[in-house]
Amino acid sequence: MLERYKLNQSRADGTLVWLEIEHTPDGTPCLADVSKEILGRVRQLDNSRVFGVIFGHIELKPLYPEIFSYGVETLYEVHERRMVRFQPEAYAEALAQIAVRIEPAAILMGATPRGRELAPRTAALLDTGLTADCTGLQVKDRDLLMTRPAFGGNLLATIQCTTYPQMATVRPGTFPLPAPEPGREGTVIYWQYCGQAWKDIVSSESVVAAADDDICKAKVLVALGAGVKKTSLPVAESVARKLGGMVCCSRKLVEKGWFPASRQVGQSGRSVAPDLYLAFGISGSVQHLAGIASAKRIVSVNTDPEARIGEVADEIVVGDADAILKELDKIL
């Protein structure tokens, strides 16, 4: 009997996406690109329902048309003034309550710092599986097949959650930005959060990365790795300025404290897609290579001809990075 009526199977259906809200320097909220990318991918996959969840207050109202234009059919707005700021505990509780109500087959969010904090907490509350940092999404019936690079990138693992809802965080930049379809309509449902899991925030200052300070948007990147000396840092800055680009680095240099984490390229840093990626003294750990997969042209300068970055580089110069950097600065 159970087999016939499929009563022992979950009825979970549809996809729930946490729509991350970013704030522009003047405080206007806007939808994060990664959320749009996820919505675009979800629409491609199948025709099941798409639910969105946003947290905030009245300032979110102007965003509704945009959210619907990317394919959200039912939008849950957790309406609470204190939720304008990110509150992981309260967000996770509300998200879990909504998930229990609508029984989605999948919950997706971007693998941003906030998404990576919210997703595991929600997964624990729902007692379900979570795949982090996906770079691919496929569906088989209702089941999500999530692809992610294992151990840096030379092994791609396809992972499935064994419980519903299936949860995944998606790496920003994995899927192309979809074109909005203006005129699409949807329903907004206000949700009241009654919990008390508030953080005691003393102060919060936004570090607005100016547009010219975002390595993801730079057309030319001069990348430094462990193979360069600290004295080469100003030289690299000068070269980057002359080429109209920016300086970025590998994880090693962030750990040494030479660069802020915002300049780090790689799996634990940023994924970049410049037209030209000039790598000095970067050996190319698998994690680093994962971050430059979308670069159009890669030129590597390294003393080791066998360095792994050679596998992806278009031009490999075998030589001393510090000396070449200095000469390059002179002739540019």
């Binding site: 904090e117 007692d127 092994l155 396809t158 959650c161 890669i298």
Partner: protein, 254 residues
């Protein structure tokens, strides 16, 4: 007050090499204490007061005891190794569950539980938040500063686009992004004392966990298939022993 620091032993990723098929050669790669876990331990040491106890715990194979010994040398007071065949293949959920049960049974008086922001080999950084939820305590991720006053702890968190200062309740889980590694002076005495501290090994039965709560069977995700990504060298190799010529060449190709 008791601090619990959850650490991880990772292969030294900077030394990892690949063979001609593109698969990793894991043999002979030295295992080290995860850099972020070291930051977490230093953060706990920096706010430690006389009478406080720092407990380090790791989940891993018996060899992970070396990493715990290293933590004791740095300044931890006691060490637990969660090691069992049954723990193998644990995903985020099963790992967090094992750690949560450890904290509840063996360190119930724990105040702050500190983890690294992420591990060098997995890079996902999801265990701290899942651990916090399973312990039903608040979480503070990406901590760059932890300060202590008589009234309690304050953390500074770095979200990339926001720097946030929060008051921390008496019990919480912290994931540490940055600690001061150069604060401490090495001491022979501490090094020698550390060798005498026993490391307690706990298995599944000691934690009173069922076989379906841990490891592969306690996981909520499964790997369906894996495929190797092959990369081929297609780039042009140029000799750059003369920096002047190399720079000219670079200018040309840009």
């Amino acid at each position: 007050m008791r601090f619990v620091v959850a650490v991880k032993q990772v292969p030294d990723t900077t030394l990892i090499k690949v063979d001609e098929n593109g698969s990793l050669i894991r043999q002979g790669v030295p295992a080290i204490l995860d850099p972020y876990a070291e930051h977490a331990l230093e953060t706990a040491l920096a706010v430690k007061r006389p009478g406080d106890i720092i407990t380090v715990v790791t989940m891993g194979p018996p060899q992970a005891a070396e990493t715990l010994r290293r933590c004791l040398e740095i300044g931890a007071d006691e060490a637990f190794l969660l090691s069992d065949q049954a723990f193998a293949g644990a995903d985020v959920h099963a790992t967090a569950r094992t750690l949560a049960v450890f904290v509840k049974r063996f360190a119930p008086d724990a105040g702050l539980v500190l983890c690294g922001k992420q591990a060098a080999d997995g890079d996902t950084g999801e265990v701290p938040a899942e651990l916090a939820a399973q312990l039903q305590v608040p979480q503070f991720c990406y901590v760059t500063e932890l300060s202590r006053a008589d009234s309690g702890f304050t953390v500074v968190q770095d979200y990339g686009d926001e720097i946030r200062t929060c008051r921390v309740p008496a019990v919480a889980v912290l994931s540490v992004a940055e600690g001061d590694l150069n604060r401490r002076l090495p001491s022979i005495q501490r090094f020698l004392d550390a060798q005498k501290i026993p490391i307690t090994t706990l298995g599944r039965v000691d934690l009173m966990l069922g076989t379906f709560s841990v490891g592969l069977r306690g996981s909520r995700t499964k790997i369906v298939s894996t495929q190797t990504v092959r990369t081929e060298r297609t780039g042009r190799v140029t000799d750059g022993t003369d920096p002047v010529k190399a720079a000219l060449f670079l200018k040309e190709v840009l």
